[in-house]
């Protein structure tokens, strides 16, 4: 199937009376890396969560890989998706969280192999072998049997990336993956993400790492107060922003 991987048209989302997304338009092409930047409370994380069906969209259209998120259209009517269908769609999208959210009662290997075994129903031995290979890919071959509490933040986040990759996702979402890390540990996580981008993975990254956005992103989108203020190539948005709000924000973080 061709067409963009993520397509958002006038996406709105409210929590009670608070309108968090006020009409987001965004296109992420296949194989592209899109970095979402902006001040906290601008709706970046909420938008990312919408893409992964963790929140439902109130108005507008949001589709991933040509399929509507959260709903199904049949004969001009929208039907809310069942939990089973939502789960099946989430299984194809990887997500990495700010606070890692590794399963503390499982080893690194257990974390990575859990979903392939339980959701994809792969045989245990095969899943374990693949999990080892993925942990090796993120540089943690020697931490296979470690529990999350025995790992540093950077190591935990790399396990979390391996865990998401174990489901062979067609799209990877990163929600401020380095914000909870000590400064000296940020680099090791960004390196893994760089490799992933180079391998052709489609990625949407909410981040405050402007260096990463400049080097890796195909598209940088600046959000503020629930709207996309401007988007474009990293050079254009980061070096030569058109809007005052973007300039103010970049002035504070760069």
């Amino acid at each position: 199937m061709s067409g963009p991987m993520v397509l958002a048209e006038q996406v709105h989302k409210s929590f009670g009376r608070l309108e968090v997304l006020k009409g987001i338009d965004l296109v992420v092409e296949r194989g592209q890396v899109c970095c979402l930047i902006g001040p906290s409370g601008s709706g970046k994380s909420t938008f990312l969560r919408c893409i992964n069906h963790l929140e439902n969209v109130d108005a507008g259209r949001l589709s991933v890989d040509g399929e509507l998120v959260g709903y199904q259209q049949r004969g001009g009517k929208l039907y809310e998706l069942r939990e089973k269908e939502t789960a099946a769609k989430r299984a194809e999208i990887g997500m990495v969280f700010q606070r890692f959210n590794l399963f503390p009662h499982m080893t690194a290997l257990g974390n990575v192999a859990e979903a392939p075994v339980r959701v994809r129903r792969l045989p245990r031995a095969g899943a374990a072998e693949r999990a080892r290979a993925l942990l090796d890919r993120v540089g943690l071959a020697d931490k296979v049997d470690a529990y999350p509490a025995q790992l540093s933040g950077g190591q935990q986040q790399r396990v979390a990336i391996a865990r998401a990759l174990a489901m062979d996702p067609k799209l990877m979402l990163f929600d401020e993956p380095t914000s909870a890390l000590d400064p000296e540990l940020v680099g090791e996580v960004l390196d893994v993400m760089r490799d992933l981008a180079a391998s052709g993975m489609t990625m949407v990254v909410v981040t405050h790492e402007m260096g990463f956005a400049r080097d890796v992103a195909d598209q940088v989108v600046f959000m503020d107060h629930g709207v996309v203020v401007e988007g474009g190539s990293p050079a254009q948005v980061l070096e030569d922003p058109r809007h005052k709000r973007t300039r103010d924000f970049l002035g504070k973080v760069l």
Binding site: A91, H105, E114, Y147
Partner: protein, 287 residues
């Protein structure tokens, strides 16, 4: 560079501790002599420890406690999940269950089950009095009452697990039941087990109330004997020793169970009592 000389200092003397320790020991000695001189035939207490009626009573106490606690845990998990579900009907029913069975005395509940035949003469096509034996009534009374407490304990355990765990599991494509079974409940166990152990120790003792509906557990067994031989205190002590034995054995078991579920939450597991004895007594650190 040479290491500096170790410090030599006179340690602080805790005179107050010596005084209070002596006072407590004195009080204990008084109590011990009082009981030693009292009109209690301790040899009888010891003899009856292994008498068949008592041993069988202790066995029944253990049996009813284990079964009632198991029933309570199953009911507790079901009700806790019911109360967490989005369905308002199951939520309300779960709340009602906890409200009634936690809000009325367990002794009264035992009587209710035992006398069920008064309002429902037949049960499952049989006379209710045949089905509702003292054992069945005690099991239902104790187990269903326990379920109300376990429901609250399990609910607290579930809500102690970080929301991010559920989200991460859902993001991997896991469905609600699977998330509960594989991710949330195993982590909730760490919070659930200590109060559950407490509940079970309580159950070992509360099961004595079943004597009121003629279930022949340990307390009733002791009572049956002392009503005949009139050695009341001796037999009550026999039962007390059995209760202490049961609760002590279980406490050890609970310790190791908690250790098992501490995996992953602590970098290092706490030492077992034996390891502690080894480090503290056999290899005492020198100061």
């Amino acid at each position: 560079m040479t290491a500096p000389e170790p410090l030599v200092a006179v340690p602080v003397r805790h005179w107050g501790r010596w005084v209070s320790g002596a006072l407590v020991l004195g009080a204990l000695a008084l109590l011990a002599t009082a009981f030693a001189r009292a009109d209690v035939q301790w040899s009888v207490t010891r003899e009856f420890l292994t008498v068949e009626t008592i041993v069988r009573g202790a066995g029944r106490t253990l049996l009813i406690s284990v079964l009632a606690q198991a029933l309570g845990i199953v009911l507790g998990v079901v009700v806790a999940v019911m109360r967490q579900s989005g369905n308002p009907v199951t939520g309300a029913v779960g709340w009602l269950y906890v409200w009634f069975f936690r809000g009325t005395p367990v002794l009264l509940q035992l009587f209710l089950w035992y006398n069920l035949g008064l309002v429902f003469p037949t049960l499952l096509g049989q006379p209710t009095t045949d089905v509702m034996t003292p054992f069945v009534a005690a099991l239902l009374g104790l187990g269903i009452n326990e379920g109300a407490y376990m429901a609250e304990i399990v609910r607290a355990g579930i809500s102690a697990v970080d929301e991010g765990q559920t989200e991460a599991a859902q993001a991997l494509g896991m469905r609600r039941g699977l998330v509960m079974r594989r991710i949330v409940l195993p982590q909730a166990m760490r919070v659930i087990i200590p109060p559950t152990g407490n509940e079970f120790i309580n159950m070992l003792k509360t099961s004595s109330l079943a004597f009121a509906i003629t279930y022949e557990e340990l307390t009733l067994a002791a009572r049956t004997i002392y009503i005949n031989n009139l050695l009341v205190f001796e037999l009550l002590f026999t039962a007390a020793i059995w209760y202490l034995l049961l609760t002590s054995v279980f406490s050890v078991f609970q310790y190791y169970l908690e250790r098992r579920f501490a995996r992953g939450s602590a970098r290092e597991l706490p030492p077992t009592p034996w390891q502690r004895v080894r480090t503290n007594v056999l290899r005492r650190p020198r100061l």
